[in-house]
């Protein structure tokens, strides 16, 4: 059972990382607009490469 000595802290630390991640994303305002977020993922304007490609093509 000695394995518990480090397994439990590791499990807790992983959980805490998840919690910290959530609190950070909450603070960063990522849950302010759940309606808009689902459409923003379809936006391509964060891909400069593709745009350049289009410019060259056009």
């Amino acid at each position: 059972m000695d394995v518990l000595i480090y397994l439990i802290p590791v499990a807790l630390a992983l959980g805490l990382m998840g919690l910290a991640g959530f609190l950070w994303s909450l603070k960063a305002g990522q849950y302010d607009d759940l309606e808009g977020a689902k459409y923003r993922i379809l936006e391509d304007d964060d891909l400069p490469d593709e745009k350049d490609g289009n410019d060259r093509g056009g």
């Binding site: 499990a11 959980g15 609190l23 603070k27 849950y31 808009g36 459409y39």
Partner: protein, 740 residues
């Protein structure tokens, strides 16, 4: 149009990075494409630091570098893109960051994290208890659980602790009092058990309880916030600003909060008077339908008092803003409004009523259990353990979710039906209503007047009159123009303030205006009005031909007759209380088939009538839109107003309905009745659950595993029952010909 600048500084705030920031309500955003268009369009403009549209709340947040661009350019870019936007008055924008919601979410996250990790340890202990775990390991697991549970409970329990303390200091009992007692005792007991190396501890129960209750609390908060945000958007888009006339003679458009009594404001023809005041210069007619319900226009000249919310019909006015002094209408309304809100006995919400019955019972049961075990067994520690387990198992997990879950689902359904709730408990009160009192003007009828005798006038004359009407800002002329397909105004038309418009066309003189202006004798005008009770006349004269009367009246909402029939079918008692003259009210009442109507009612009369009805035991739903309705909206058991209502009326109402249709009123009542039924079912289910679980607890048979299963399953059942409403809602929407 008078060119005047808007005082943008009043709307702009500075961000910590030194950029200018402005929040705007944007109209016409329907989909993701609009969002992209707006953000790209603004982003392309030089100087814009950040533009982000919130698709949930239809608000745009813009940051820009001051000097490189301006608020004015932002708004003009938006209008070029085809969206009407209006900035929020920072003074009225409360709680932009939604601090409460974030605190609840943080607490929820902490409780969820703690619950899952403790459960991991607890399941090990439970299975270990069955397969021979050694005492050291179990104690270690229990101490570890305590290490997680205690700080987590302190953090996540704050919303409940605050509410419980405020309830106790007000000498009331709410649901949070037994919650706080239950959670604290469970934690205390678990620490004691751990100290004694006992087999069971209740850490996971305590934290799980908080987790479920926080879900209910967050749902409740989200519902209120969404409605409030929407209501604020409507208010901002109504652009409640005033054109302030400065001493140097220039005009500046400022938010109402920046206008002080004694300031001079400029009210253009066709605009609403933004604030109460006394006319300094100008001669005009005032449409008071939103304020008194009276549909006939009243003359206003220097020295006359004009009220906020009335429409300046004929000509520009300069108004000196007055303080609330003397016996003005608004003073009377304000006084009545305060009295009505105070007199209204605080409605005890279903959940609080359940709590006030529930907590004494549960605490008594726990006490009896303790005494029973102590007398029979003699071991006070054992007796305490069992007594506390009774409290844990009865802790109002399902009760805490029973009402908010239903409220959230219902407010979503109402939102889709075009009804916005101001108050969470409005659902319960709507369901209790049995009598509906309607205001007439703007409520049963549309707020905008319309031509009613179109069929009596030849098309060519109507179209020509319509073209002339386009040259005028008068509301009657506006109604005439809307009723025709005229799009080109007659050239060279002159407006004679307070009388009408006149123009030359092909050598003939065209006149549109009052009876006197067009040379129609008084008796002839009265005869023309006889067939249209309640209408206002506007006349048109082409050269020397006989003047043609156009009757303009407020039309019934398109589905008013069906809605009233449906409401009557549902068993509601209906009544009309109007501030307008008897003739138009009688006409409307007859068409709707409502036998009880009263006309010429002052605000105090309306309250008195509602008081009479309430004294007879009726629960009154008041539907009204005018300033004169505001006190009775506050006095009634529950109230609704259309979105076109004056600000004061909307603030006094429990719910606002959107659009031209009246059916949302009936829909809201139906949804509310179903919701109340679901709430009562949920409360009964929670009671039944306690009736089953308490005997086990009293007998000392409850283990932490039993408690965890019982709690989560009861919460799930209650939530599912609330979601069932949504299925019903979908089914009733799928039925065609609703309301027939």
């Amino acid at each position: 149009m008078t060119a005047h600048e808007r005082d943008w500084d009043a709307f702009v705030t500075l961000t910590p990075e030194g950029h200018a920031h402005m929040d705007l309500a944007v109209e016409g955003v329907t989909c993701a494409a609009c969002m992209v268009e707006i953000e790209r369009g603004l982003g392309a403009q030089p100087g814009i630091e950040k533009a982000r549209l919130n698709l949930t709340s239809h608000r745009l947040a813009v940051d820009w570098r001051d000097g490189e661009t301006s608020a004015e350019q932002v708004v003009s870019t938006l209008s070029r893109l085809g969206y009407r936007a209006h900035p929020f008055d920072p003074a009225q924008m409360r709680e932009r960051a939604d601090a409460t919601g974030r605190e609840l979410l943080r607490s929820l996250a902490v409780a969820g994290f703690a619950m899952m990790n403790i459960m991991l340890l607890s399941v090990s202990v439970w299975s270990g208890n069955a397969s021979g775990i050694d005492t050291e390991t179990r104690d270690f697991f229990h101490w570890l659980s305590a290490l997680i549970a205690l700080p987590a409970a302190v953090y996540a329990g704050r919303p409940f602790l605050r509410s419980a303390l405020s309830a106790i200091s007000a000498r009331r009992l709410n649901m949070d009092v037994p919650i706080v007692i239950g959670v604290s005792l469970a934690l205390f007991l678990s620490v004691m058990q751990t100290l004694q190396s006992a087999h069971h501890a209740y850490f996971e129960s305590a934290v799980m309880l908080l987790f479920f209750l926080l879900i209910g609390r967050y749902l409740d908060h989200m519902m209120r916030r969404r409605t409030r945000a929407f209501a604020e958007n409507i208010a901002a888009l109504k652009a409640e600003t005033a054109a302030l006339l400065r001493p140097d003679g220039s005009l500046r458009e400022v938010p109402l909060s920046k206008v002080a009594p004694g300031d001079l404001i400029h009210v253009r023809a066709g605009e609403r008077v933004p604030l109460d005041g006394r006319v300094e210069t100008g001669l005009s007619e005032i449409d008071q339908s939103l304020v008194t319900g009276e549909t006939a226009l009243a003359a206003a000249g220097p020295g006359d008092v004009v009220y906020a919310g009335t429409l300046n019909a004929a000509a520009n006015l300069t108004v000196r803003v007055t303080t609330a002094s003397g016996a003005t209408l608004l003073d009377e309304v304000t006084r009545l409004l305060e009295a009505a809100s105070q007199a209204k006995s605080r409605h005890v919400q279903l959940a609080d009523r359940a709590a006030s019955l529930y907590s004494p019972l549960v605490h008594l049961a726990a006490l009896m259990t303790f005494i029973g075990w102590f007398v029979l067994g003699g071991d006070w520690q054992q007796a305490l353990v069992v007594a506390i387990s009774v409290l844990i198992i009865t802790c109002p997990c399902a009760l805490g979710l029973a009402v908010p879950a239903v409220q959230v689902v219902t407010s979503g359904l109402l939102f889709r039906a075009g009804v916005l709730l101001h108050a969470g408990d409005a659902v319960e009160r709507l369901a209790e209503a049995d009598t509906i009192v309607f205001d007439k003007t703007g409520t049963l009828t549309l707020a905008i007047p319309d031509l009613v005798n179109a069929a009596e006038v030849p098309v060519a004359v109507r179209e020509l009159a319509g073209r002339l009407a386009l040259a005028s800002r008068h509301p009657l002329a506006g109604a005439l123009a809307r009723a025709t397909s005229a799009s080109v105004p007659v050239e060279g038309a002159r407006e004679c303030p307070g009388e009408g418009v006149v123009a030359e066309l092909g050598g003939r003189e065209l006149r549109l205006g009052s009876a006197g202006f067009c040379g129609l004798p008084e008796t002839a005008a009265r005869a023309a009005l006889a067939s249209h009770p309640g209408a206002s006349l506007i006349l048109f004269r082409d050269g020397d031909a006989a003047p043609v009367p156009f009757a303009i009246a407020q039309k019934l909402r398109p589905d008013a007759i069906e809605t009233v029939a449906r409401l009557r079918g549902l068993g509601y008692r209906l009544e009309i209380l109007s501030g307008d003259r008897a003739a138009p009210v009688a006409d409307i009442a007859e068409r709707l088939g409502i036998a009880d109507w009263r006309a010429g009612m002052k605000p105090a009369d309306k309250i008195a009538r509602i008081g009479e009805l309430a004294a007879d035991g009726a629960r009154v739903l008041m539907v009204g839109d005018g300033l004169n309705d505001a006190p009775s909206l506050a006095a009634a058991h529950v109230s609704m107003s259309p979105v076109t209502a004056v600000h004061v009326a909307q603030a006094a109402a429990d719910a606002v309905f959107l659009g031209d249709r009246l059916m949302p009123v009936a829909d809201a009542l139906c949804h509310a009745r179903r919701a109340r039924a679901a709430m009562v079912q949920n409360l009964w289910f929670s009671t039944a659950y306690n009736l089953v679980a308490v005997p086990f607890a009293v007998a000392g048979l409850v283990t932490p595993l039993f408690a965890a299963l019982a709690m989560s399953s009861s919460s799930v059942v209650v939530t599912l029952n609330a979601l069932r409403l949504r299925l019903d809602g979908a089914r009733s929407r799928a039925l065609p010909g609703e309301g027939n």
